[in-house]
Amino acid sequence: MRATKQRLVVVGNGMAAGRVVEELATKSPGLYDITILGAEQRVNYDRIMLSPVLSGEKAYEDIIIHDDAWYAKHGVTLLKGSSVTAIDRARKLVRSADDQELGYDKLLIATGSSPFVLPVPGAELPEVLTYRDQDDVEKMLQAAARGGHAVVIGGGLLGLEAAAGLKARGMEVTVLHLMPTLMERQLDPSAGYLLERAVEARGIGVITRANTEAILGGGHVSAVRLDDGRELPADLVVMAAGIRPNTGLAKEAGLAVKRGVLVDDHMATDDPNVFAVGECVEHRGVCYGLVAPLYEMAKVLAARLAGDATARYGGMAISTKLKVTGIDLFSAGDFAESEGREEIVLRDPARSVYRRLILEDNRIVGTVLYGDTSDSAWFFQLLKDGRDISELRDTLIFGPAYAGGSPLDPTAAVAALPDEAEICGCNGVCKGTIVAAIAEGGHGSLDAVRAHTKASGSCGSCTGLVEQLLALTLGDGYQRNAVQPICGCTDHDHDEVRRLIVAHDLRSLPAVMQELGWKTSCGCAKCRPALNYYLLATWPGEYVDDSQSRFINERVHANIQKDGTYSVVPRMWGGLTSPTELRAIADVAEKFAIPTVKVTGGQRIDLLGVKKEDLPAVWADLNAAGMVSGHAYGKSLRTVKTCVGTDWCRFGTQDSTGLGVRLERFLWGSWTPHKVKLAVSGCPRNCAEATCKDFGVVCVDSGYELHFAGAAGMHVKGTELLCTVASEAEVLEYCGALLQLYREQGRYLERVYKWAARVGVETVRTQIVEDHERREALLARFVFSQKFSQSDPWAERVQGLDAHEFRPLAQFSLEDVA
């Protein structure tokens, strides 16, 4: 019990501090003698509304929370522009930058956080700004008034809001983002993909996987350089690459600090007279970056300072929205899937809508909404309440309007459409036309309707609707086309997916999954490798391979063995080797105690039983002797077997060995639907077994017989004759064109012989042999894509690529764990 008022000193006048002071001043007036020291020359304002100020939708005056009059009225002393430089806990006082000392009974640290500035060369240039306070906004507005290019580093919430604001102010804007999709902390890749499209649609450039190397300019910013060498012109650079809690003061005062100032559920630090709230704190291992939890902390602390010992903060679920007009997204909770969990996904590719709810024990544990967020509040409330949604389940995803209603029958929705309703947007076909084609024209299958009306023939996204019309019109008489979907994640088959990737210009895994209505959020072990291949083959040089979607052998460029070790097969071009190579192989085998060295069925040497950690070192030694990966693990070119040919053989008609080497050097590195094996024999005796290969060459006096579509695995199949050509150059040309046709048409995991049987051996022959233009175009595409695939994956890993693959995360000895 004290006669005099307790002195509460507040360090920082941001959003959290403002809320604590407001709660105290209005709910428990007169309890404390409050002094706030704020580093900013301003009153308390709504930091989260800086973006509308930047874009021009609001003025600074509109976002003030407490004006000067408010402080006067509530008897709160605000020292503007006053930074605290030290806390002396023994004497219970704080010192400010102008050396003033101020005593306290209770101290509140609410210093927020600071933008993280990437430590790249040029970061100190005057036009490199951060985005945290009104001063930053004013500097950005000055820069925007001069026009030109702005580069925003960071595609999170802040970066995107800054970009939209600068664009609204007339600048050319590019956002650089290190990760593959925008706002990856809050959004799953599907929603991140839609967001990227929407941002680009506003004329803002987006470059993902962009690693900034330097900011260029002598005295003034002129460009930003990425680590891949690209340079982007820039007159202004905004760093929005993350924030760091301001903990310096607390740390120097000897308070317990980890990532943030450590506080308990009452917002007390380890000194009972010192409290902390806001972004500078760490509570139960979590640091926050959004206001909702900070306001909650503020409320708890105010109650506690007012004497309510029961007030406690227990952490809370947070949700995110992006404040860019016209872009609607929302995310909350935990959005992972699993067996214990179920997900409900609703995708409407035509309207760019994506909704995903994650359920566990019949409760919503997470949600991501894009495009239509009108029901976000309802979903978030269900999530926070942990309400059992079993009764709503069938219509839950449609939101509160349908809550508990009878399940929607999709055909009923189509049935209700008027005859004029457009079903196929691409070809302008309406419902009436389709129904007439089915009922009167007798076109009873999807293909027939497609051929007759063109409906669903272009982009294919209305296929589902057309099928519903078929079902509606024909009733039980309609049997859906027996398409064999890639896997349970989709209704599309391989061909349809390939076609749509091109038709829709889809360039990433999330793009495919969203636009083609994938039923899961991130695919499975069956569809992901297939999609990764299709994208790689369709967009050479542009699509970035997703290593996590590759089978282990292709991810680490070696073959996994039954005991978890690996085998290593270096290339021996055309089956040729040399004393140097053999010596290097022998040395490597001894140096790394490799248990088995074997000659393979593909005319080269296999080192079996290599430990995963040893792989890069083994490769380094092989590289040093000039050897590269043999891709014995890949859906790619394996071997080109040869025989000795004219160089030595008394029957040889052509240089089969030399041609084999040339073919292998031309083809290696290309990714294909399945593995590809070649052979070249020097005469019809065929010692290289060319007539059971994916592509085979049999040399004859007059030239070269080209064969294709053979195999000798589970099925032994002799090749088909393609044609006979006169020169080695033509062999390469026909072979490259044929492989490209296979790369473009083959389904993932379909060998050449299966593809040829499916599309017709004769069709392949016509396209390659008779259609010269087509052959040349195919060859050109093959040659182009080879530009991006012929770098030795082993050498890249020796240089350090994917180093994490080859090192354990941690290692413990017996003493460590005993």
Partner: protein, 114 residues
């Protein structure tokens, strides 16, 4: 009375494990696979498939499961149970992510080995 005291040890940062990927922690009681899902959830399991001991850490990670690289069994990361028609279960190891650091409970492991 078999009371066990947890022994949380720091095995690395969340960032060190690729999304939809895994890393291995080597211990005298065998390898532990540490998984990170698309949504940044983390799980630790013995790195041995219940089928024929395949190294699960080398599989493809999708939703909350991993497909074994040897014969494609699909293992649920949370329970360690094989999904679908396959039957078997791999032991899980307690793992927490705190402030971006991964903490593994080695006590359980040691006791299991003992």
């Amino acid at each position: 009375m078999d009371m066990m005291v947890s022994r949380w040890v720091d095995v690395g940062g969340l960032q060190d494990v690729p999304r939809r990927g895994a890393r291995v922690v080597k211990t005298p009681f065998g390898c532990i696979a540490v998984f990170r899902t698309e949504a940044d959830e983390v799980f630790a399991l013995d790195d041995r498939c219940p089928h024929r001991g395949g190294p699960l850490s080398q599989g493809i990670v999708h939703d909350r499961s991993v497909t074994c690289p040897l014969h494609n069994w699909v293992i649920d990361l949370a329970s360690g149970e094989a999904r679908g028609t396959d039957e078997g279960r791999v032991a899980t190891v307690p793992l927490r992510c705190e402030g971006g650091r991964l903490l593994l409970d080695l006590a359980l492991l040691a006791s299991r080995a003992a």
